[in-house]
Amino acid sequence: MTVAPPPLQTPPRSQPRPPHLDEYAPLLGAATIAELRALAGPLQARTAQMVNSTAVGGGVAEILNRLIPLLQELGVAIRWDVITGGNDFFEITKAFHNALHGAPYNGRRGAFETFLANNEQNRARMNLDAEFTVIHDPQPVALINARRPGAGHWIWRCHIDLSRPNQTVWQFLEPYVLRYDGAIFSSPEFTRQLAIPQYLFYPCIDPLSEKNQPLEPEFVGKVLSRFGIDPKRPILTQISRFDRLKDPVGVVRAYRIVRRYFDCQLVLAGGGAADDPEGGTVLEEVRQVAGGDPDVHLLDLPPWSAMEINALQSASTIIIQKSLREGFGLTVTEALWKKKPVVAAAVGGIPNQVIHKHTGLLVHSVEGAAYQIRFLLSNPALAAKLGEQGHEHVREHFLITSNVKSYLTLFLHLLRQT
């Protein structure tokens, strides 16, 4: 078993400028870009606004940083606003976030009042008069109070799994959600029975980002060398935080079974061990199970390791995502985009991406994962075919340009309704 040395690069890499639409044409075809322009035609100079709770860090900000410039380039007069709040507000919204995922809620007295007061302060300072207003996640949900009767279209974009929320928090938030014209969810599994329309927008990756752009083989080789990984033998990789819900111990067990038949290596790479006490505990558990096997590489990487993760995915023979629970699972999306055969658990949003036997293989147990990995190692042609089809699946549905198309379609639909 190897312990991760520091990554090749150190933070911060400068924030690259967001790509222009035409830069996607070599990957997606000029017709796709022309189609986006055609859809945007009736939306020229229409006003839109997105509101969330953070400008940097986290998946939502990452998507908005790419999405807003592309919509602007297409002629939509869209702006992005971020709510402000003190530590007390964000502690409350963090507790809400966990509770909506099903965790118990032990909020302090007056939390709901503080939440509403903060939303009211933001409402008072913000100009919320766009034709289309999209509010992201629960933090700014009460901004719906700014809506004037009959004015504009208001949509709530929920990025979290709402299927099993803590009832105390949900009962507080639901009346606000129901005042929107619709809600957007990332997967059918994450929705609830609501009296407003629920739309499906898949999360997305940017093919031009550091984590997904093609890499020079020399760089990939350097990363493998740095981590002591042999490029000549099969590499099985799971990218995820050291979190029990990602079942890293189960992955090691599956690898053990595979090792009886194939001389392969296992890479478990992700973050969370340094800044999350539970992550450290889980890493230790995995280390124990790995038991000093020199072909098991446990890499606890810092958050700025996008290119290293890209390199590890690119060099892998098979990507595993054997989670016990999962959100949408964008690490699977990244792997499919890199044309990798994927063996993944049929949980959360993964079955939307891994269509069993078409774009990857779905499993329900350690033994199942081990069997499918062996099957793919024995059938490289089939593995390659799954990878190719997975790539096409991502190209069609899970790229930032698909997200642009979804918003254009939603705005057009709302416009035509009126």
């Binding site: 075809g29 000029a30 017709a31 796709t32 022309a34 189609e35 055609a38 859809l39 035609g41 009736p42 969810f185 059918p188 599994e189 929705t191 029975q193 609501l194 329309p197 629920q198 739309y199 499906l200 049929a346 079955p351 269509i355 069993h356 036997k357 078409h358 779905l362 329900h364 089809q389 096409e392 699946h393 069609e396 549905h397 198309k405 979804s406 254009l408 379609t409 939603l410 057009l412 639909h413 035509r416």
Partner: protein, 218 residues
């Protein structure tokens, strides 16, 4: 070169997916959903699903078949559901009737599987169609060829496959135009015979362009 009586107008289409409040937890639940859902839901899980998976050459026909296989492990039912050819249907009501019949017959023949909980639920969704003209017209066969060459998958699917429901005819937008505006009945018929199930959409386009090219160079 022969000019059309009326130019062909290329459109693009985009679908907004709406998640319904109904799920199927087992085959009985699927049957119940098939009876209660609206036509837009049948469209989403059959016509649109085929479009979304246009890059698959084999084995994927519609969401119901895929779910029966992957979530219920019922390969025989999946096979029968996958055997439905959407080109045979001019109305979603007829397609729904056949889907219901297949699932009902299976549940009746295998009651032990009807209530068996699936690995994951079936979520009934529906599509809202939004169309926009691409601003491209074809007045001749050569312009038509150029237009088809540039179409996205969504647009190609809209004109060539889902058009049957709109037209309520066993044909497609391209064949109708070739036949009525260009007087090319034989070419129209050859286009309409291209197999969409054993080709990817790119394969369909290549075959279509080959046929047009043959006509142009005749």
């Amino acid at each position: 070169m022969k000019s059309a009586q009326h130019p062909f107008q290329f459109f693009t289409v985009s679908y907004l997916t709406r998640v319904g409040n109904q799920t199927g937890l087992n085959l009985s639940g699927l049957l119940d959903g098939l009876e209660k859902c609206n036509d837009a839901t049948i469209f989403h899980h059959t016509f649109q699903s085929l479009s979304k998976h246009h890059f698959l050459r084999e084995g994927f026909s519609n969401d119901f078949a895929q779910w029966a296989l992957a979530a219920c492990n019922r390969a025989d039912l999946a096979e029968t559901l996958a055997g439905l050819d959407i080109r045979d249907y001019l109305s979603l009501a007829d397609l729904r009737t056949d889907l219901r019949r297949i699932v009902a017959d299976y549940c009746a023949a295998h009651p032990q599987y009807a209530e068996q909980t699936a690995f994951e639920p079936f979520y009934f969704c529906e599509d809202i169609e939004v169309t926009v003209p691409l601003g491209v017209e074809a007045g001749t066969l050569e312009e038509f060829r150029q237009g088809v060459e540039q179409l996205t998958h969504a647009s190609l699917y809209f004109h060539f496959i889902s058009s049957r429901l709109r037209l309520q005819l066993r044909t497609n937008d391209f064949s109708i135009w070739l036949s009525t505006s260009m007087g090319m009945n034989a070419l129209a018929q050859r286009l309409n015979s291209i197999d969409i199930y054993t080709n990817t959409l790119d394969g369909v386009r290549t075959r279509l362009l080959d046929l047009v090219h043959q006509e142009l160079t005749r």
